[in-house]
């Protein structure tokens, strides 16, 4: 027997012997364990530590907020605050849920809430939420179960702000500090932290003393960080995970074809647009309104939605607000796809032979960002707008966005919280990454931010939308969907448009 064959046979034998030993381990946990795969490991499990949804989803299973925005009812509902009523246009009385304790035994009461607000208001400890905190004037304890919150001015998204305040136990906080709390949080939630192996898994066990009904059929939740899309889909398909976030569109049909798997499609708060900078400091043909309108006419959004998103994205109607939002204008319709009109507008603006422009886009920040950008560039080219494409890694993209360097044209998706002011404030000239400067727009945005009468407020936002339609500071593209792979054994899993989902009322049938 030759040396080659002998070696080959020995290796093959070794491999055959080893494989069965290896298999079987690392399989999905069965029984009453829920395994959730997200893109990233949490940086901190203290929800007010960051605004990243991966952190919040995990942290919120342990630490709870005053109120919550229920995605199933689309209403703001009680959480640790049982009921609330406005006292004046800038103060609110909160009645706390009674008899709730943190898992370390501390009581959840007015002192704990006042302490949590104190942390929330300190930009050194809670820089991520300083924008909300800026509206709060002071918080006073009335009795053990009642507090009153005062804002500095009439504040329309008052309740939404209260959904952002997470309640922590004061004594424990004092003993471990902010960083310690983020690593070993103590809360009132349905789960408590058992084990956290960094970048590998976060394990939480059921809180037996949970004040509410809590999840059914689940004793343990395991959070797994899986950054690669293909790997996350694969792990979900094979049953390693019961829930997987950010499923790529290309994988949806395959998953739905399986008997025990499905994909939940949630319209996202994320609105996709092209920045068309009209700032003086950004010299480009886009300064001319007609060129910006031409860009809008040149993009076939319907084709993008139909082909690249398989219909799983929604058209914008020439405005940035969604149909469900206050201030949506049903009278507005989007710019139709009309390359001839685009060419005519370009010629009118002095570019009869078309023009060349830099087009920046992120690579790996949004689903299919490269593909969509390339498709848009192809469509623009047909109308005579030749683009020089610049792909940016996600970190650099964000940095440029916030330093107003994402100009003259860039592909962007913004997902502000569910209040029209948070959407529109992004186009106020003073906003860090506003690529438009328009005094009329600024005045309307300010008016909307202070108006507490709903009808009047809606009218203001309709005016804003019509102004933006005319001035086109952006090209209106589409609204995205978020896709969650969810095991059919899991009921009551309802994600929200800001990529948040909640475990306190789900049911696992196994």
């Amino acid at each position: 027997m030759s040396l080659a064959r002998r070696t080959l046979i020995i290796s093959a034998a070794a491999a055959t012997l080893l494989l069965p030993v290896l298999g079987g381990e690392g399989r999905a946990q069965q029984g009453r364990t829920l395994t959730i795969a997200q893109g990233f490991d949490p940086q901190t499990l203290w929800p007010n530590g960051t605004t990243a949804s991966d952190n919040l989803n995990a942290g919120n299973a342990i630490v709870e907020a005053l109120l919550w925005n229920n995605p199933a009812t689309q209403k703001i509902e009680p959480m640790l605050v049982e009921s609330w009523e406005p006292l004046t246009s800038s103060s609110m009385r909160l009645h706390l849920r009674k008899g709730v304790t943190f898992t370390n035994g501390e009581p959840m009461n007015a002192d704990a809430v006042v302490h949590s607000f104190k942390v929330f208001l300190d930009p050194k400890q809670t820089p991520a939420y300083a924008n909300y905190a800026a509206a709060i004037d002071r918080v006073e304890k009335i009795d053990d179960a009642t507090v009153v919150v005062h804002t500095k001015f009439p504040y329309p998204p008052f309740e939404l702000m209260l959904t952002q305040v997470y309640v922590t136990p004061p004594a424990y906080w004092a003993s471990v500090g902010l960083d310690g709390f983020g690593q070993k949080p103590i809360g009132t939630g349905p789960f408590k932290l058992t084990e956290w192996v960094k970048d590998n898994r976060v394990v939480m066990d059921r809180n037996p003393n949970y004040w509410g009904k809590g999840p059914t059929g689940i004793d343990r939740v395991v959070w797994r960080p899986v950054p690669d899309d293909t790997a996350r889909v694969a792990g979900f398909t094979t049953g390693e995970f019961d829930v997987a976030t950010n499923i790529p569109i290309a994988a949806i049909d395959e998953i739905n074809a399986q008997p025990d798997r499905r994909v939940i499609e949630t319209p996202s708060y994320r609105i996709f647009q092209l920045i068309l900078s009209s700032l003086e400091e950004h010299p480009s043909p886009l300064k001319d309104k007609r060129v910006r309108q031409a860009v809008n006419y040149a993009i076939d959004k319907t084709a993008i939605i139909k082909n690249l998103f398989a219909g799983r994205a929604f058209a914008l109607n020439g405005q940035l607000l969604r149909k469900e939002q206050l201030g949506y204008d049903p009278g507005l319709k989007d710019y139709p796809y009309d390359p001839a009109k685009a060419k005519a507008l370009l010629a009118e603006a002095g570019f009869p032979n078309g023009l060349e422009i830099t087009f920046k886009f992120p690579s790996g920040r949004y689903a299919q960002d490269r593909e969509v950008s390339e498709a848009i560039a192809g469509m623009l080219a047909k109308a005579g707008i030749r683009t020089k494409m610049v792909s940016l890694e996600p970190g650099e993209f964000l940095r440029q966005l916030r330093n107003r360097e994402l100009q003259p044209m860039a592909y962007l998706g913004l997902a502000p919280l569910d209040d029209p002011d948070f959407q529109m404030a992004q186009y106020r000239s003073t906003w860090r990454y506003a690529y438009v400067r328009n005094a009329d727009l600024d005045a309307l945005i300010d008016a909307g931010a202070r108006e507490t009468d709903k009808a009047k407020r809606a009218e203001i936002y309709q005016k804003i939308s019509r102004l933006m339609y005319e001035e086109v500071p952006v090209a209106f593209l589409f609204g995205g969907y978020d896709f969650y792979g969810v095991s059919k054994a899991l009921d009551g899993f309802v994600p929200r448009g800001d990529q948040r989902f909640f475990l306190h009322n789900v049911t696992l049938k196994r």
Binding site: T230, A251, L308, S363, R370, E374, A375, G378, S391, P394
Partner: protein, 301 residues
């Protein structure tokens, strides 16, 4: 003259030596096939518009992710099917040859020039210069390559020139080490001493006497480096730092297409096969070239 100083081939004239090398290189059939593949790749790089069956940039969203023409749902004329934007995959592979080869060849050129210069200086002058260059080599080798490339590309932006420079920067230490080693071995050979004795300047000695003697080592090593650079560009594309779209590169196509593997394997596998073929060809050709040039040359290169 310089040629007379070539130790191993002192007897032969340049032409007969060239003929000898060519004949030696092409002695086996694997080398011949490799040469054919490389010639084809070169033709694609030089005149893609004559070879590509369609316009590799033309999008048709209605025809996206078509399978190859021979399969059941294939469409005639799209031989390898279409990509995620409905562009012809075969045409893009042909188009992509140009930038893929351009980037990798120039990156090797950059690292080769820098590395050879540093290696020559270190080996020839020795002493402090040698010590400094050795430390620089160590720094570069110890610095995680990917981190360096990501950081630099993120800072200066992913233009073609920057990409070539950064990729080139990553390869120079290996050239420098090989050259330095070779210089050290030939430095004290008689012909170098003789040249110095008759008053040739250091630069002249290096250019005319030392460089020709280590050229074969450099050429062979460079051929392997080209393959490495093609892969590096692919990895950078995977991390979103490669050549800018819509310009096709093989690495970029694999990286974009891998997301659609379950819908169309051809999108990402066909450029992958192109890469594999060319790298295989380069390696086999490089091996043959080495054997023909100088059988003593170390295969560790």
């Amino acid at each position: 003259m310089a040629d007379a100083a070539l130790p191993s081939t002192a007897r032969s004239t340049p032409e007969s030596r060239l003929r000898h090398v060519v004949r030696g290189t092409l002695a086996g059939w694997p080398a011949r096939i490799s040469l054919l593949i490389l010639a084809l790749a070169l033709a694609c790089a030089l005149a893609p518009e004559w070879i590509a069956p369609r316009d590799g940039y033309a999008q048709d969203l209605a025809l996206r992710l078509l399978p190859p023409a021979w399969s059941e749902k294939g469409v005639a004329g799209y031989w390898l099917g279409t990509d995620q934007l409905g562009r012809d995959t075969l045409s893009r592979i042909v188009e992509g040859t140009r930038i893929t080869l351009l980037v990798s060849l120039f990156a090797v050129l950059v690292s080769g020039l820098a590395g050879v210069a540093a290696g020559l200086a270190a080996g020839f002058y020795g002493g402090k210069i040698d010590a400094v260059i050795l430390r620089l080599i160590d720094i570069q080798l110890a610095f995680p390559l990917i981190l360096l490339v990501i950081a630099v590309v993120a800072v200066v932006g992913p233009s073609l020139t920057n990409l070539v420079l950064v990729m080139g920067l990553s390869g120079w230490p290996r050239f420098a080490r090989i050259v330095r080693g070779s210089v050290l071995t030939v430095r004290h050979l008689e012909f170098v001493d003789a040249a110095r004795a008759i008053g040739a300047s250091r630069g002249r000695v290096m250019a005319l006497h030392i460089l020709p003697n280590i050229l074969s080592a450099i050429i062979v090593y460079a051929s392997f480096e080209v393959a490495r650079m093609i892969l590096l560009e692919a990895t950078l594309s995977f991390l979103g730092l490669g050549v800018q779209p819509p310009t096709p590169t093989w690495g970029g196509m694999i990286s974009d297409g891998r997301k659609y593997l379950n819908q169309s394997w051809a999108v990402s596998l066909s450029p992958g096969i192109a890469i594999a073929l060319v790298i295989l060809a380069i390696n086999i050709f490089g091996d043959a070239l080495r054997d023909a040039l100088d059988p003593q040359l170390d295969e560790r290169l």
